[in-house]
């Protein structure tokens, strides 16, 4: 077994153990919040998922900048993987947030600055994803998509700092101005955050591997076509 495979399996095992531990801590260890009740436990997956979405989109935009400067299939694969995994977590944030808000605020959706900015972020990277899915492979599309990924990342700090800048219904909790967490909640949150980040790393690794293979197969098709032409 290759060292990269050992590293991947180790990462997956550690991520799985930590995810199960985080679930156990969220359900059985963390106390129930007094105002919102048990629904507040969504916090332990909602916030780490948002961080993973940020990470995915930042990785995608960094790889896209690299691709625009020096087009390499590997960088495009990283960008696509970053968008896909980031979008996965962003979708979860947009589903878990309204579920939480439905109970806590009495409404599933309000046009709060952070919610709106997150929705715009989702639409931008959703556009990237659909562009890549529906377009034929080619250098031109890859560059257009890269430019889109770079522009869209501007929205990440807007989402993150929107509560501090424009207020709204979103609680600040651990961020500046927030009241902080009780020790048991903080422990659960920290484990959950680590678990999500490792899960994110495992997913993005897997996704990059699949995309690199797709790019290689595309090259092989072109090589076979060339060979076919040269023999006929």
């Amino acid at each position: 077994m290759k060292s990269s495979q050992i590293a991947f399996y180790s990462l997956t095992i550690v991520a799985s153990i930590l995810t199960l531990s985080a679930l156990g801590l969220a359900f059985f260890y963390a106390p129930t919040e007094l105002t919102m009740g048990v629904v507040q436990k969504i916090f332990y997956s909602h916030v780490p998922a948002a961080m993973c979405a940020y990470a995915g989109f930042i990785i995608a935009s960094a790889a896209s900048i690299g691709y625009l400067l020096r087009p390499k299939p590997g960088l495009d694969a990283v960008a696509r993987a970053g968008v896909e995994v980031g979008l996965l977590f962003c979708v979860y944030v947009l589903i878990s947030g309204p579920i939480w808000g439905y109970k806590a605020w009495g409404k599933a959706w309000v046009w709060d600055p952070q919610l709106t900015a997150t929705f715009v972020l989702f639409l931008m990277y959703g556009g990237y994803f659909l562009l890549r899915v529906f377009s034929p492979p080619g250098e031109r599309i890859r560059k257009i998509a890269s430019a889109l990924a770079v522009f869209a990342v501007v929205n990440v700090p807007i989402v993150h700092y929107s509560v501090q800048k424009w207020g709204g219904l979103h609680p600040t909790v651990e961020r500046e101005g927030g009241g902080g967490l009780a020790p048991a909640m903080k422990t659960t949150f920290s484990v959950s955050m680590l678990a999500f980040l490792l899960l994110f790393a495992a997913l993005i690794w897997l996704s990059i591997r699949v995309k690199m293979r797709e790019a290689r197969v595309e090259e092989l098709y072109l090589d076979v076509e060339d060979l076919s032409r040269s023999r006929s």
Partner: protein, 79 residues
């Protein structure tokens, strides 16, 4: 094509959900059920994405098989 349709639905559905408008302020749903739904959605999304990657990996293997056959035909090789 099926994969593209699924991809489109995955991106479009949250948008449609938000277009439905906010529910009544008189919320009677228990918080525990909502919390469980939230965690179930997380697992469904993760497993769905793994299935999507597995499907793509399967398509790569199919493509490699097609390429292998074309190479064999071109070089006049048989099994």
């Amino acid at each position: 094509m099926k994969l593209k349709l699924i991809s489109f639905c995955l991106v479009a559905l949250p948008g449609l959900a938000h277009a439905q408008g906010a529910p009544s302020e008189d919320v009677q749903v228990p918080g525990g059920a909502l919390m469980l739904v939230s965690y179930l959605v997380l697992w469904a999304l993760l497993l769905g994405y793994l299935a999507y990657l597995a499907r793509r990996q399967g398509l790569i293997e199919d493509d490699l098989e097609v390429l292998r056959k074309r190479m064999d035909d071109m070089l006049g090789l048989e099994d």
